[in-house]
């Protein structure tokens, strides 16, 4: 059956490039490079096709083994076998293995995988310095190592990481036990580091950062969020010649004093700066910071300090600024207007959860920001149709508009969105007054790929029909608690949007197995949430299990009609399922194999 699907899907393409692989000899005569190009295309269209291909013949199996670059085992125990089968794999993603003991990592070194370049251990526990030492010995060319969430890792582990001399990207996020000593080892041992994350490394202080900045001159991305750094290490960081991204989220030790001390040494390479949640930073510090970083492209000041006209007028100095995030900020009078005057080049603006955003100021801003592509006004509860009229009339090239919980905007105002912003790809209208007319207006947005219309109680099947007919590229739709929809609407979506990957139908109490049957035709579907849909039964789930073989996330909590029968189908067909919320405790679902 698997081969049949493969042939049905991809035979035409293959024929256009090369002879059919069915007889082994032609496959042998085909150059690996060409074959791999073919397989790349096949995998892009249907990730499961590769598996079928490998099962076709011994030669196919060998070709597939040579082709695969990424390994993502579901269980750590499979790792030795996987490495033996895929010798040319360069990336090892263990994020699906919650427990990776030292012995497993030692197995990596036993199976000799010198081709490995990247290893992701961010979701795994159970390994320690010994395992990392084995890894360092086995993979001399390792360039990318993710040890995020390694709360159990200490300086000894960091010292082992330091033995990987060619490391370019390293994440030590949440490695709270790592101190300056460990960081010092890494700084000395990995001189090629380009991307380093020290988020939540509470043991790291200025001394370690100073040494890092001294030894790792090639650093481009540095994440120091939620660390205890103070102004002492700032000059050293700013002297990094290639630093482009600096994240300082929630650094309580960073204050105006620290930022003001930067004024002397400018950093012309810095492009992205995130100082959100820095409680001790005020307008003074931000103003002086802006002076020392003239080439900034992205600035994040969320939850930082009140936005005043004088603060914003300083942004004139960073003429290249593209992205400005001011989430959760308090806007003083004319603060928002000043953005319209000073930051004309902005393409992305986020004002979500900010207070003090009014119709007049927002209208003024959007009328000046002609280049705006993305706008986030989530939870700006004071804005009304006036703002929306201004947004839709002046920012016609908007790609993304997020306006969840803007309760004062009427359905008339929402209709303007579809009529005027026809380039929209992402639209979030959760908890709004949207009705079927508004959805009908969206028919012009043919590129729409993500539509969130949760808690829109006025939409019905009719509106969904418009969407299904006119948005073929829709990949993600959220209909959470939109109680007006039923099977007909879902069917329209499933039939019109074959690319659908994710759908949320939670608490849409009227949907039945018929919806799931139609959704089972969407082969790309990997996320299905039908929590609290009491009329869905096991037969619907069995259809989904057989049709959507890529399903990896399924939420069926409070679906009381689903019983063991459905579970059996899931266990048999949904090999990719990772998150499985069950009605009751069934323990006969085993997940094995590789997720592709």
């Amino acid at each position: 059956m698997a081969m049949a699907t493969l042939l049905a899907h991809h035979q035409p393409k293959r024929r256009s490039i090369s002879p059919a692989p069915a007889p082994p000899r032609p496959l042998h005569s085909l150059a690996d490079e060409l074959l791999f190009l073919v397989l790349d295309r096949v995998a892009a269209a249907d990730p499961r096709a590769l598996k079928s291909f490998a099962l076709a013949s011994r030669a196919c199996h060998a070709a597939e083994s040579r082709h695969r670059r990424l390994l993502r085992p579901l269980r750590a125990g499979l790792l030795p076998a996987a490495l033996a089968r895929y010798p040319s794999a360069s990336r090892l993603d263990l994020s699906l293995c919650p427990r990776v003991p030292d012995a497993t990592l030692a197995a990596v070194s036993a199976s000799a995988a010198p081709s490995l370049r990247a290893i992701d251990l961010s979701r795994s526990r159970g390994f320690g310095a010994a395992g990392l030492a084995a890894l360092a010995a086995a993979c001399p060319d390792l360039a990318d190592l993710d040890l995020a969430n390694g709360v159990h890792l200490g300086d000894a582990a960091a010292a082992e990481v330091a033995r990987m001399r060619r490391l370019q990207r390293l994440s030590l996020s949440r490695c709270k036990a790592v101190t300056d000593m460990g960081l010092g080892c890494v700084a000395v041992g990995c001189p090629d580091l380009r991307d380093l994350s020290l988020k939540w490394c509470l043991g790291v202080t200025d001394l370690g950062i100073q040494l890092l900045a001294l030894k790792c001159k090639k650093l481009r991305t540095l994440n120091l969020s939620y660390t205890m750094i103070t102004k002492d290490c700032f000059p050293a960081i700013m002297k990094l010649p290639d630093l482009e991204v600096l994240e300082l989220m929630g650094c309580v030790g960073i204050d105006d004093d620290a930022l003001c001390s930067l004024e002397k040494d400018r950093n012309k390479s810095l492009q992205v700066l995130d100082i959100s949640n820095c409680q001790n930073v005020t307008e003074v510090g931000v103003s002086s910071l802006v002076k020392s970083t003239p080439n900034l492209l992205e600035l994040n000041l969320s939850h930082c300090c009140p936005v005043t006209p004088s603060l914003v007028s300083g942004f004139q100095r960073i003429a290249k600024l593209r992205t400005l995030k001011l989430e959760g900020c308090k806007f003083m009078a004319d603060g928002l207007k000043a953005i319209g005057r000073s930051c004309v080049s902005i393409m992305e603006l986020s004002l979500s959860r900010s207070s003090g955003v009014t119709d007049t100021e927002l209208s003024f801003v959007v009328s000046r920001l002609k280049n705006l592509l993305k706008l986030d006004i989530t939870c700006c509860r004071n804005i009304t149709d006036v703002s929306l009229a201004a947004i839709t009339s002046s920012c016609t090239s908007l790609i993304s508009l997020r306006m969840e919980s803007c309760g004062h905007v009427s359905s008339k105002g929402l209709q303007l969105i579809g009529k005027r912003c026809c380039h929209l790809e992402e639209l979030d209208l959760t908890d709004s007054d949207l009705d079927d007319e508004g959805l009908k207006a969206l028919t012009g947005c043919s590129k729409l790929s993500s539509l969130k219309v949760g808690i829109c109680l006025r939409i019905s099947d009719e509106g969904l029909t418009y969407i299904g007919n006119s948005c073929p590229e829709l990949r993600d739709i959220d209909l959470y608690r939109s109680g007006g929809i039923s099977d007909d609407g879902v069917t329209q979506i499933a039939q019109g949007c074959l690319m659908l990957e994710s759908i949320n139908l939670s608490y849409c109490t009227r949907i039945t197995d018929r919806s799931l049957m139609s959704l089972s035709k969407c082969a790309q579907l990997h996320t299905l949430e039908i929590r609290g849909c009491p009329r869905v039964s096991s037969s619907g789930i069995s259809e989904i299990a057989m049709g959507c073989r890529l399903l990896s996330k399924l939420d069926i909590k409070k679906c009381f009609e689903i019983n063991d029968a459905g579970m059996l189908y899931l266990s048999q067909f949904s090999h990719s399922l990772r998150q499985h919320m069950r009605l009751a405790e069934h323990d006969h679902c085993t997940f094995s194999g590789y997720y592709t």
Partner: protein, 491 residues
Amino acid sequence: MSSCSSPWSTMDGNQNDICGQSANLTSNPLYYQFGLDNPLFGMGIQQPFPPSTSPFGASSSTNIPHMDWKPAMMLDNLTFIEEKIRQVKDVIRSMVDNGGQLPGRTGDIVQQQQAVNADLTCLIVQLISTAGSLLPSLKNSSFLSHPPAGHMDMANHVGSSSSMVPYTTISEENNEVMCSPEDYDELFKGLTDGTVEGGIEIDNVLVEEQDTKDGDEGGDAGMDGENLLPGSYELLQLEKDEILAPHTHFCSICGKGFKRDANLRMHMRGHGDEYKSPAALAKPPRDASTEHAMVKRYSCPFVGCKRNKLHKNFQPLKTILCMKNHYKRSHCEKSYTCSQCHTKKFSVLADLKTHEKHCGHVKWLCSCGTSFSRKDKLFAHVALFQGHTPALPSEESKVSDQVGRVGSHQEPAKLTSSMGSFMWDNSSGDDTVLDIKGLDSCGDDFLSTANFGSFNFSFGPLDEIKGNPSEGSFAMLPSEHFQSVREKGEN
């Protein structure tokens, strides 16, 4: 104190026994006190100094002529004592002779004993007055002639004025400011007539003399970190002996020295009830005159030192304590040796104690074997040298599995079998560091923490290393090694 006593001893041309002894006694207050007490109690005198001090005053008025403190008078005084001793000797000799012949005449013996006792008491009083004159303080014999009521004041004077003597001696020895004996007399009269202020006035007088002298010599020699203008503070310079003297306050009666005036006041209570009054025990109040006085700064007596007032970029010392510590640290032998590392030496005891607190705590290690007591020093070191990396203190478990793993590397066979002789003994000390600097790429294994951990392990019990802490790269060596290297260094 030797500088104080020397003028007097030279003045006493004939070098009387008693004078010599008393001179010794003044230089050693403890001995002095002992010598004073012993004869009194040994002779069974019940009340050598009754609380009322009347015999004291009486004896001074009857037996001792008022002394003007001239050498001649001193000489007279001593001859008097000599005569008296000879008399007592004669009496006792006769007693010895008579006692052998007539053992039964006890009444005569008692009478003779009383006479001898009276003579001895007289002698002792005389001795005290003479010895008291040799106290570092001052003219002293004058206080004997004072009415008993003035005694408490005198004690205070002596206590407070003892610290002022240096200035007089300085000026004498330097021959910079000549004070004739008349000057002294004036000063001491002022001291004894007035209250405590007198002493302070003397202080000021002398200091002013020095200041004017400073102005003449140095011009603008007083520019310092505080930006005090040269004339805006009083500049004091103590002599070497003064700085090194263990005590600054002395008992006017027994001569015992104290570091603090409060301790002296406590001590004075033992000399009589009049020292026990609240007024006598209270801290001498600060006078308005001292509050308005100029800020005091100190100069180091070592010529050529930056803290010396003659230095071009002179920087004065802020307090007398600063000066003492500075002088000891910079210009004295370092006599205190750390008992743990036997390497560090200090001239100030407090420095030694501070060091001993941290000695042996080798907390921060570099891969090159150098140890640091402070993290920032380690990181500065690592930042400076290419290839050096911070080394983690090895844990037992980690080390054991690392030794096994290291076993697959090139050098380790040597490393584990012959412990200390691996790397550190063929190149001792700084050479090691230089070697490592040279090793860049090939030094990866050598510098790695794993190897480092195995060093420690191969040295056997870690406690031993911690117990025999040493400095610098020696820390890596086993103890006996360390000893030999040290000896080499000493030779």
